[in-house]
Amino acid sequence: MIKVEFLGPIGKKPMTVKAKDLKSLSKILKENKEIKKWLKISAVAVNGEIVKDLKTKLQRGDTVSLLPPVCGG
């Protein structure tokens, strides 16, 4: 299982899903209307590293984080 966490203002509790790569995770997340609207503006990290390739493979125990637009300071 993959843990998906929703950071900052998304304000959703983490969920666990079955997905072999980011592409299949994308399909799963798009089914949820609330999450879908954040996908366009959110970056994705796997185990704390930002990833930019939809083909990125996922393994059991991985954590995927969704990061909406940031503004520190």
């Binding site: 203002p9 503006i41 970056a43 930002i50 637009p69 940031v70 300071g73």
Partner: protein
């Protein structure tokens, strides 16, 4: 040196700690940036969420750059509420020479704004509202859309 505080920052305290920790007597330059909450849009203050594991990773990259140049980089940030005229963010660079310190503080603060996983909210009429319009998409956003 990176530290997250649960209260607004005390400038003197943070800067003293950093100055005392400057690694040797060869750092002739110490540049700091202090972020103060300004009074605008009728806010009562700002509030911040921080994703610490990734902030640490992000900061490590800058640590490496500083070390390579025999310099040191510092950052303090508040998680939670910060009132008007209070301090939420301090960054610093100490270095043997001024050029590296001056140039690096600029790049560091800009990269911080664009990529550090920190989220800002306006505090207004007792509500905490995500400052979406003033936030920046991290490079690579939209991958799953």
């Amino acid at each position: 040196m990176l530290k997250i505080y649960k209260k607004p920052l005390k400038r003197e305290k943070v800067l003293k700690k950093w100055t005392d920790s400057i690694p040797n007597s060869k750092h002739g330059a110490f540049v700091t940036f202090v972020g103060i909450i300004r009074d605008e849009n009728n806010i009562d203050g700002l509030s911040f969420d921080i994703y610490e594991p990734m902030v640490k990773k992000w900061f490590k990259k800058w640590n490496k750059i500083a070390k390579k140049n025999n310099s040191k980089i510092y950052m303090a940030h508040t998680v939670g509420d910060v009132g008007l005229n209070e301090i939420s963010y301090i960054a610093g660079v100490s270095s043997p020479k001024r050029r590296f310190a001056l140039e690096t503080i600029d790049k560091f603060v800009e990269d911080f704004k664009a990529n550090a996983p920190i989220w800002k909210y306006d505090l207004k009429n007792g509500k905490r509202v995500y400052a979406k319009d003033r936030s920046t998409k991290i490079s690579g956003s939209g991958l799953l859309s």
